[in-house]
């Protein structure tokens, strides 16, 4: 009874969200800002959830997300830049002839392939990152806590340096970066307009991650987070499960990286610096380490307040003829930081803690405290 009610409510709210997206799609003209912020939030939500899989559920404190995102972004971008724009993009150093030949070959394939090609490119980028993660994981996953964080941070910087190195000019266009990347494609032959594509892709990926977390393997991840020694004594192979989590997290980060390339239309190695990882870490922490819905909520709140809601602090403001001196460009980041501190002080473990959003909780707000003591259950 209660379960069916919850299902109905979830379906309705997802439908409402979709309806809003379709309405925005029809009234694109005035809502460019809103649409682009929501798209960015959706992409960051996916990265945050994949980071949460690693940091929150498996307990591996990794800071390599930006590196894997850049692998996905570059692979997707190289695969997607139209053949006729290649010379314009690689105007300085020319393009590697092998890649050009590959792209010419791919562009000659039949139309049905061209319509799914952007998604194939996303998946190829993600698989590439997963392969790299599986190789690097052998070395990196021997480390624990802080040391793992430092190693993965270094890894992501190495990847960034590689991509901007002059030796790779013919492939990544070195420090000039790539542009003329096509925007989001439409899905299902136009049933899903381009604007909504990132939401659908993110939602599907996040659903997959949630399914994994709730499976027996996800429980094994949580066991490793809780107590490595006990988990190992219970027959859970630490190396196998840690690399599994690391590879899957990298896969989805890279997929989101590919979407970010489509969203930004032009990328350069600088985009994927450490600050990007920190931005995502921020989302994960604000949302709650170990909560998928928290990460999604955090992605939307952090992106929206950073890019949109606090914009007005950047504009000069006159109060009763007095020009308030603080309201200048950049002031919103000060306010943003203060808000962050307040959130962290009030919600010690992020907005959601380790709990997930549930309709029962919304209806039983008064029982909130009691339920917390009992723990989430399954």
């Amino acid at each position: 009874m209660r379960r069916s009610r919850n299902t109905v409510l979830s379906v309705i709210s997802a439908g409402v969200f979709l309806a809003i997206l379709y309405m925005l799609n029809l009234n694109r003209a005035g809502n460019g800002m809103l649409i682009s912020i929501m798209q960015k939030s959706a992409i960051f939500a996916l990265v945050a959830v994949s980071m949460n899989l690693l940091n929150g559920f498996t307990g591996l404190f990794s800071l390599g997300q930006a590196g894997f995102m850049s692998i996905g972004a570059y692979t997707t971008a190289i695969l997607l830049i139209p053949v006729q724009s290649l010379d314009g993009v690689y105007y300085m150093n020319g393009i590697n002839p092998g890649i050009r030949a590959l792209k010419v070959f791919l562009s000659a394939l039949p139309p049905w392939f061209q319509s799914v090609y952007p998604f194939v490119a996303l998946i190829i980028g993600a698989l590439f990152a997963a392969v790299i993660a599986s190789i690097v994981g052998v070395a990196v996953l021997r480390l624990k806590s802080d040391y793992l964080a430092i190693a993965t941070l270094g890894l992501s910087e190495i990847i960034r340096a590689l991509f901007s190195s002059p030796q790779l000019d013919g492939i990544t266009n070195g420090s000039y970066g790539l542009n003329k990347i096509p925007a989001f494609p439409k899905m299902f032959g136009g049933l899903v307009p381009p604007i909504i594509t990132p939401f659908i892709v993110s939602a599907v990926c996040i659903t997959l991650i949630v399914l994994l977390i709730r499976s027996s393997y996800g429980r094994a991840f949580m066991a490793i987070r809780e107590d490595e020694i006990a988990a190992e004594a219970m027959g859970i192979s630490l190396f196998k499960h840690k690399s599994m989590s690391f590879i899957i997290s990298s896969f989805f980060s890279a997929l989101a990286g590919g979407m970010l390339a489509m969203y930004m239309r032009s990328i350069e190695a600088k985009t994927f610096s450490i600050t990007l990882t920190y931005d995502i870490l921020l989302i994960v922490v604000i949302g709650g380490i170990g909560s998928v819905t928290g990460s999604v909520l955090g992605a939307f709140l952090v992106t929206a307040s950073k890019e949109w809601w606090l914009r007005f602090f950047d504009q000069p403001l006159e109060l009763f003829g007095w020009d308030v001196p603080l309201f200048r460009t950049g002031f919103r980041m000060v306010i943003f930081s203060i808000l962050l501190m307040m959130v962290v002080l009030i919600y010690r473990r992020g907005l959601m803690g380790t709990n997930e959003f549930s309709w029962d909780r919304i209806f039983g707000r008064f029982k909130w405290k009691r339920k917390k003591v009992q723990g989430g259950g399954s």
Binding site: L208, L211, L212, S215, S216, Y217, R219, A220, M222, A223, E226, D227, I229, A230, A231, E232, A233, M234, G235, I236, S237, L238, M244, T354, V373, Q374, G375, G376, G377, S378
Partner: protein, 279 residues
């Protein structure tokens, strides 16, 4: 089947100059409760860790169901060298990680309880079932193994009922009282379907009444799960009550072994526990 479940041969564990376990030879027959006792720092827990794969032995080997699960025989590194009764048998290293050994059918509990604290009682036991999972990650993600998953959940429920924790299934593990946490840890070990259960001081911090319950509990699970039990314990009452055979360690050396009665009257044991009398 009345074979030897676990056997250690010349098992030695040395940390730098300290020989924590010194030439330990143990045989644990099928269906028996064997205890390892000794004063603090005698090397009991180290012996456990070597057997379960936490450490690689400095010398000697561990045989579990006629399969060598840990073996080492360095010829020069040790301060004190045991060549074993049969030199030729010690010639290679066998290293197993704890998870592999658990999958072979040896489960353990810890001296200082190591539960998955933030997870529920039910999940704690369910996770231990994971080591016997047949489905791969992808089929588990897409729920192609829902039959297996349901069986796992049913078995977990059954097991919780057997150990008397069924009504606490949804509680957080860390919110249980101490005695129940101990019991949950044993239940979790049982969930890996072991043939040998290793208990590291199961009665630590328990009052006499709880200890008595625990003794009965260990006997019960031994019979109902067809187990062999190997335990470390300080509570003499518990050990004397339930063990079939006792090994006494002191400073890593085996100073006595035998039935509870034999051990109780052994002068070496009395000396180790009560101190040496002035002559």
């Amino acid at each position: 089947m009345n074979g030897i479940v676990l056997k250690t041969e010349h098992l030695t564990m040395q940390f730098g100059g300290v020989v924590a376990v010194d030439d330990l030879n143990i045989e644990i027959p099928q269906g028996h409760i064997t205890a390892l006792i000794g004063p603090n720092g005698a090397g009991k827990t180290t012996a456990f860790n070597v057997v379960t794969g936490g450490y690689m032995p400095t010398n000697g080997r561990v045989v579990f169901h006629d399969k060598v699960i840990g073996e080492n025989h360095p010829r020069s590194k040790m301060k004190k060298i045991y060549n074993g009764s049969d030199r030729t048998t010690f010639h290679h290293q066998v290293v197993n990680t704890p998870d592999k050994i658990t999958r072979l059918g040896m489960a353990r509990t810890f001296q200082n309880i190591r539960l998955f604290k933030e997870l529920s009682v039910f999940e704690n036991v369910l996770i231990a079932k994971h080591c016997r999972i047949k489905a791969g990650m992808l089929s588990a993600t897409f729920r192609l193994n829902h039959v297996e998953e349901r069986t796992m959940r049913e078995q977990t429920q059954e097991l919780l009922k057997t150990v008397g924790l069924a009504d606490l299934a949804r509680e957080k593990a860390s919110s249980l009282p101490y005695g129940k946490q101990r019991r949950l840890e044993i239940a979790r070990a049982l969930a890996t379907s072991p043939s040998l259960l290793l208990l590291d001081e199961p009665a630590a911090g328990m009052n006499p009444k709880e200890t008595e319950e625990l003794a009965q509990f260990i006997k019960d699970i031994k019979d109902s799960f067809n187990l062999t039990v190997f335990l470390i314990e300080h509570h003499m009452n518990l050990v004397m009550d339930i063990s079939d055979k006792i090994y006494v360690l002191d400073y890593g050396k085996t100073i006595a072994m035998g039935t509870p009665k034999e051990v109780q009257n052994d002068p070496a044991v009395i000396r180790a526990y009560l101190g040496v009398e002035d002559e």
